[in-house]
Symmetry: C2
Amino acid sequence: MDQPAKSTQPLRRATSYDVARAAGVSQSAVSRCFAPGGSIAPATRKRIEKVAAELGYRPNALAQGLISGRTNMVAVLISSATNLYYPEVLEELTRRLTERDTRVLLFSLRSEGEVDDVLDQVWRHSVDGVISAARLSDAQIQLFEDHRVPLVLYNRMPAKARAASVCCDSAAGETELVERLLAAGHRNFGIIAGPADSYVGEERRRAALDRLAAAGFDKVPVVRGDFSYTGGGEGLRQLMADQPGLDAIICGNDQMAIGAIDAAREHFKLTIPDDLSIVGFDGTAPASWSSYRVTSIRQPVRRMTEAAVSMLIERIENDTVSAERRLFAGELVAGASARIG
Amino acid sequence: MDQPAKSTQPLRRATSYDVARAAGVSQSAVSRCFAPGGSIAPATRKRIEKVAAELGYRPNALAQGLISGRTNMVAVLISSATNLYYPEVLEELTRRLTERDTRVLLFSLRSEGEVDDVLDQVWRHSVDGVISAARLSDAQIQLFEDHRVPLVLYNRMPAKARAASVCCDSAAGETELVERLLAAGHRNFGIIAGPADSYVGEERRRAALDRLAAAGFDKVPVVRGDFSYTGGGEGLRQLMADQPGLDAIICGNDQMAIGAIDAAREHFKLTIPDDLSIVGFDGTAPASWSSYRVTSIRQPVRRMTEAAVSMLIERIENDTVSAERRLFAGELVAGASARIG
DNA sequence: CTGTTAGCGCTTTCAA
DNA sequence: TTGAAAGCGCTAACAG
């Protein structure tokens, strides 16, 4: 009563008991009223809903989760790097999950060392499932089975462990890029690969080298970058210093391709693609900007995120679904940063 | 290799009761052992910790939250647009919150209409606080007071309601840009503003127009874009069609500035900044790429996110802290997309 | 269809 | 320092 009559501000959130009392029914009736398939008489429901609205009642998600074992929360694990390159992925994932009445608990990892701490939090919060775009060790993947928490890997593959995953086919995409470069007559290749601890980075590097080796090129210089713009520029300078006369640069992602293009133009006064062809991977938005028009492979982000979410939901609803890998083909974006055949 | 009886895999997570039983103590002793300042004898603690480790026990966050009223979860609200432009902000926020032992419940809003649904979820999950980089109405902000949930607005300002907020000083930054353009002798300005429903967009537009009016320019053409690359290009084409002879374009953000630069070069064959000066705002990474080198105002993202997080934590720990607004000055990035004085 | 009754796993008095 | 006991707000049998 010492409240300056700001209206009946409840000091405490209304509970199902408050609603029950005010509606003259039992607490479990209120519970059923808000439950998906609760059997309740239309008249009773109406009365309860009216009172609930007046009291601003909402079921407490913590209590629901505690008793039912379902929290309607999913953890999304993203490594900082991924986060910066694919904001779109995170956006899509949260949107699709939200559509399915699921909340996102976000974990952004800076280093591999943080994974164990993050998993600790994941278990504690009893999430219904996890989508991981961060690298997990086999032992860590095993923990998910132990804890019986469904897991879907995004653009990651377990080394040995079995786990559901959705990936863009890096190998096929990279192979196609190399073939198109070969068809256009390129003969002096250089590779700016991603960091060694990146799954897709290694996949792409390996695929490029394999296809080049098959074409008789087995001394292709490789440098590594960190998937960043500056990494691409530095990579290019390193390659050009070691091996002048390169005519095609294969980059681990678009960001590095863009850095390489800028360095080629600015530092070496080259014309792209006449003097030098540069290709990337991912099909991110900046890659299509007219200053770059990067020749690349576009990941089907929409379909991939949709697949990841539905695979996860499926596993949450039916915990006996077997491990499955869904591989999506990327789409060649011709662009204008490379001569391709 | 099927696991040869990988040991007693608990069918159920270990609870504090399990630990208590195995350690020969009471359940409340276990609770105290894991509580920050729980009074417990060193020997007892040791024994409990040993057993807990063996059983893989971890306190259940739901139960903790339900009884203690603290969930150690904070909701972060981001509108899709913001999300795409500032992945860095989200990364910084989650990192800093994680450092303070707080989890992030992420909500990505596509439209204003979704806000009420999102807030509903926020209340249900009993988060300790909210950081919002999405626009909230006064009525919505009022709900936070009613629910007694601390709120910090990020680059947003309430119309009338009182609320804590951290912002980059758009007006000051934009004013500085305009002054530098004036000093360099520009006389024919055009503005590509952000969408009308963006707080920072309107702030910047208004500041630019005010400063230009003060300098005697009161017929400055304004078009609107959606903060996107294509929006910038379209905006430029529109402006040039209506008013040929412009010599300076003021864009609502870097992304549109980049789009405008590309359109100016590609479509109008202009040399930037000799034929036309273009300025942006934000200081995002792509703006510094050598193809663009956008003249802009860099937001001090690190300091702003740090401020947002500490303001929120402070309000969570002490619910009587008054509303405070922290305004950060942006830093001019000279770039090379505009002649400035 | 409705109410009664047990808990979910934990924190928090309160005595001992 | 320790344990007993009382809930936090809800779901889920089970009777009626």
